[in-house]
């Protein structure tokens, strides 16, 4: 196992540490899965798939399965800030419960505003209790941007009307790891689009601890679970890119692994939605696909239980896992040359054409003037 011995030893050590921790649940994850009709064989297949997704050798699969069974040893706290709950939906929506969502549902109930039964004072109490009892142990997952303008008053929640800024700062203090799930918590998202009236920011901008960003609108279930499982298996942060996104998921552009890439290189483009090219599944570049500027693994991991993804469905990528994509990628269904120049209701090409025309007119006027001036001087000579 060239080069992976140290990593394997590290993961093994981590699994041992995890197994010594007390479980937060009454029954084990194995029993839970069996009760819900998941056979061990399916579980191992799932473990092998996630191991492969994290770019680990298959020898890690048994170790990973061990770690997954110990997932109930690490409490999760899932906070909702300024968002639409689409990221939670991405994870829990499926035609039949997947192993990801079963494990996640089972372990995450400590605090998840959408999934938990508690409300009001009860919910607030659970949050406080979880934060206190598991200090330094829990994983904090945040969904949604954090409004900071006006002291964060644009987002208040709970019976005490606390600001989101306050809640996330407090929860971050005792967290073992912090994951920003979705573009809003990673980079601010749509509410951070210019002029950003609420001063919405990504979580990493309002707290001082290191944050792993899992952007996407929404990120695929695999990216959320993979990031969690990576932490579970190694207890450390994965290799991150410049925007603190895990490299195993956000290392390639959409364009690099796109199933329509061949049509791009061949110059076969959809000229309008519904034309012959669209029926043939040609490249959507001229319909404003932002795949060439966007880093994500949608083409391989996909959504809705891995069945499909936007480009597969015939619509271009809109660059949702990139920072400020609302501002830098628009208009979404036009190539980037249609992007409006800041402050002007016009594109670069239009401004350029106007300037070029003005230049040519100026040159013409100067040339005509020169002719008259030249004549005058020739006479003087």
């Amino acid at each position: 196992m060239d080069g992976f011995d140290a990593l394997y030893a590290k993961a093994k050590d981590r699994v041992r540490v995890l197994s010594e921790l007390p479980s937060t649940k009454a029954g084990s994850i194995e029993e839970m899965l069996e009760d819900r009709g998941i056979e061990r064989r399916d579980f191992m297949k799932w473990a092998a798939a996630i191991t492969a997704m994290l770019a680990l050798p298959s020898s890690f699969t048994p170790l990973f399965a061990e770690a997954a069974k110990l997932a109930d040893r690490v409490p999760l706290v899932w906070l909702h800030m300024a968002e639409c709950t689409g990221c939670s939906e991405s994870l829990i929506r499926s035609d039949a419960p997947t192993i990801d969502s079963l494990i996640f549902d089972y372990i995450s109930l400590d605090y998840h505003e959408t999934l938990m039964a508690a409300a009001g004072w009860q919910a607030e109490e659970i949050l406080q209790k979880t934060l206190k009892d598991n200090e330094g142990r829990y994983i904090l997952l945040v969904e949604g941007g954090v409004p900071t303008a006006n002291n964060g008053q644009y987002l208040t929640l709970g019976p005490q009307g606390r600001t989101g800024l306050d809640v996330v700062t407090e929860a971050a203090k005792g967290a073992a790891a912090i994951f920003s799930i979705g573009t809003c918590s990673s980079f601010g998202g749509i509410q951070a689009a210019a002029p950003n009236p609420t001063g919405a920011k990504g979580v990493d901008k309002v707290i001082s601890q290191p944050v792993i960003n899992v952007p996407g609108c929404p990120p695929s279930a695999n990216n959320i679970v993979g990031t969690l499982m990576h932490y579970l298996l190694f207890g450390t942060l994965p290799a991150l890119d410049r925007y603190h996104r895990p490299k195993w998921a956000y290392g390639n552009r959409i364009h690099d692994l796109c199933e329509r890439r061949g049509h791009f290189d061949a110059g076969e483009f959809v000229e309008s939605f519904g034309d012959e090219g669209a029926k043939e599944g040609w490249c959507l570049y001229k319909q404003g696909c932002k795949g060439p500027y966007t880093f994500n693994n949608c083409s391989t991991e996909r959504f809705n239980q891995g069945t499909h993804w936007p480009i597969g469905a015939g619509h271009g990528c809109m660059g949702c896992s990139e920072p400020d994509f609302w501002d830098t990628m628009g208009p979404l269904e036009q190539p980037i040359k249609s992007h409006l120049v800041m402050g002007l209701n016009s594109t670069v090409d239009k401004v350029g054409t106007v300037l070029l025309t003005a230049t040519v007119v100026g040159i013409g006027a100067h040339a005509v003037a020169s002719m008259f001036m030249g004549k005058k001087e020739e006479k003087e000579d």
Partner: protein, 238 residues
């Protein structure tokens, strides 16, 4: 009769070395090619030849990359020659014009047909700043171009430059912004080119010197009158 002789005799001035002249024409051709291929990449106006085996877009993009690397290497060489070439004196002397308000007024007035264009170096101050801006554009276009390139070719120089370019990419605000800046630089050239050609021809006609020839032969030709005036100026200075 003496009057006529003064105007017909001329004296050559060494301005550009052969390498700088060749580099100028390389840049002229390469930038023209980059604008054409770049427009195609931004908005592919030629479509498929009816088969996915004929890589129309990829070939256009390939030429864009080839020309781009020629621009980068010729640009680097030109920047080196500006400081260390054998014709650097004339160019560096122009800096004195840039920092002289009087030179600015002389050049601007001359463009509006008032007085002649007298300068200490080979460029007027406005001309110097324009060429400087064009070199900045070359650098910006090259850097943004390299950022876009490292995502297409992952081996060799693409691999070597990958990490530093990713850092610049994040600093500029993501690939979409990089691509946008790259597109704007193209408009910079496109507006510069007609002004440049016009003013070269205009200045050759207006001030009766070898403004066009200088980029072919390396020598500018001035009327004898100029030389006599220069000598007179020098005497006045003393």
């Amino acid at each position: 009769m003496g009057q006529t002789e003064k105007y017909t005799s001329d004296h050559p001035d060494f301005v550009y070395s052969s390498s700088n002249r060749i580099l100028h024409w390389i840049r002229a051709l390469v930038i023209t090619g980059l604008i054409i291929t770049g427009f195609y990449i931004a908005d592919p106006f030629l479509s498929s030849e009816g088969s996915s085996d004929k890589l129309v877009f990829a070939e256009w993009a390939q030429w864009h990359f080839i020309l781009g690397f020629i621009l980068i290497s010729s640009g680097l060489l030109r920047i080196y020659l500006f400081f260390f070439g054998k014709d650097r004196d004339g160019e560096l002397r122009s800096l004195r014009d840039v920092f002289s308000i009087r030179s600015w007024i002389i050049q601007l007035k001359s463009y509006f047909f008032v007085g002649e264009l007298r300068k200490k170096g080979i460029y007027g101050p406005l001309q110097f700043l324009t060429y400087f801006a064009i070199m900045v554009l070359v650098v910006v276009a090259s850097v943004t171009g390299l950022i876009l390139y490292v995502h297409v070719y992952h081996l060799g120089i693409g691999d070597f430059l990958y990490e530093p370019m990713r850092a610049l990419e994040a600093w500029m605000g993501g690939l979409a912004t990089v691509r946008y800046i790259h597109h704007i630089t193209m408009w910079g050239y496109l507006i510069f080119i007609p002004i440049h050609i016009y003013l070269v021809i205009w200045s050759a006609i207006r001030f009766k010197h070898g403004a066009l020839e200088v980029m072919f032969t390396g020598y500018d030709y001035h009327l004898k009158k100029d030389e006599m005036e220069e000598e007179k100026n020098k005497e006045d200075d003393k």
